[in-house]
Symmetry: C2
Subunit: 229 residues, 2 copies
DNA sequence: AACTTGGTTGGAATGGCGTTCCAAAGTCGA
DNA sequence: TCGACTTTGGAACGCCATTCCAACCAAGTT
């Protein structure tokens, strides 16, 4: 399937040789510019000026391509670590970096939530966990705390991916504004009073701010519940 | 497309008439017993002893069927409200009921995260929001708090759906044990020390306990940050 | 320089999916 | 009984991921 180390020195490859990483790069380009639905074996083959068969020689499935693409972007995001002296600031910065990656590449959100035990999730969990170590969370709580933060990120990620899909299908409209209108329509003021009265916030709020507020709730809860000292 | 109120009194229907709700019920049965992948227009038509065309006369797409099925189960779960005197206990009970629904019907998790502005999500948001009202969270924070809780549930839901898919494909029931093994393999002890050292918890923990611990982190964070008094 | 070998290529074929089409059948007001 | 309208369900369409396989190459061997 490729990645044979011997080949690096032994056989000489053609200059235009297909490789797993070239395929993944082309996939990322398509996903970013034309969305999840635009990535098919045929469009990807066309972008690489080859046929579908050649691609499957290097990567065993479309899911493998997507997993590799997501892992690439997550790893890239995580490796930009600020490493301040303040571990609290560090973990907030990490979470915001993740948010920005998902905001810029919504398909990553869909991919992260599509398969369990994915490489990208390991990176995510590891990075969050190491920051919690720095925060000196009591040992037994670290796993729970890291899981909670990962799950929260995944929830936000899945909504971003869904919104991006919807926006592309329906056209350029503001997805959240449509939902807010729906929540204010019909008999909603009596059947769903809470949603009705908060719908305007859905349409107007800053999503980055909303995300970090949720992170803040979790971090406060974690430190209050599990700080040793 | 059906659901014409006039028809209820006017035209008389055949006893075995196809209806949207019969289709959704059949879909739920297939999803629960044979998994997401088993639900196709053809298998559903077969279960209803008809052809695919008849189904599309009542519901406009497969996504609409899935959305209706998910909304049905979420509504059913949410309507089992305990309504104790203690609002803190109520919201924990609600979250656990949601967890149990997703645990029993993992495909609901996939559906919730697949489309924005879904009916099931409105029910979820409304129910969580009303409980927060009872908790007397300060007004401006309620939207943020409800969103954070919903996002957390969605993250957990997506992981449950992914694990169920994987388990059905591989035939193995213990997906988490496989992932834990992966996290302990290779050079992980040096490259991913946190994941390596917590892998055993991944395989051994009680998932329901883990879920409610995350909820607890959020609720503590929310009350500490946003309680008015 | 020809021959062999085995990884690589890419176009064609396969099987299955969601969805649409449409002729036949059913139902009702007149 | 008739004509209009809904409902049915099997066949057909277009697209997808994936597999097949004959041709293609760049070494090693002679």
């Amino acid at each position: 399937m490729d990645e044979n180390p011997k080949r690096q020195q032994g056989r000489q490859r053609r200059l235009d040789a297909l490789t797993a990483s070239k395929i993944v790069d082309a996939a990322i380009t398509i996903l970013d510019s034309e969305g999840e639905e635009a990535l098919t074996a045929r469009t990807l083959a066309q972008a690489l000026a080859t046929g579908p068969g050649a691609i499957y020689h290097h990567l065993k499935s479309k899911q493998a391509i997507l997993a590799a693409a997501a892992a690439e972007l997550v790893t890239r995001a995580i490796s930009r670590k600020p490493r301040n002296s303040d571990p609290g600031a560090d973990i907030r910065a990490l979470m915001l970096t993740l948010f920005d990656t998902i905001d810029e590449h919504p398909w990553v959100g869909a991919q992260l939530t599509d398969q369990p035990g994915q490489p990208a999730l390991l990176e995510l969990f590891e990075s969050i966990g190491e920051h919690l170590d720095a925060l000196r969370i009591a040992r037994p709580s670290r796993f729970m705390a890291a899981s909670a933060l990962v799950n929260y990120v995944l929830g936000v990620a899945s909504q971003y991916a869904a919104a991006a899909r919807h926006a592309r299908q329906v056209g350029r409209t503001d997805v959240l504004a449509d939902i807010a209108d729906d929540w204010r329509g019909g008999q909603r003021s009596s059947t769903h009073p809470f949603a009705y009265s908060t719908a305007h916030e859905l349409a107007e709020h800053d999503e980055r701010q909303q995300f970090i507020t949720g992170v803040e709730f979790l971090l406060v809860g974690i430190t209050v519940t599990a700080q040793p000292s």
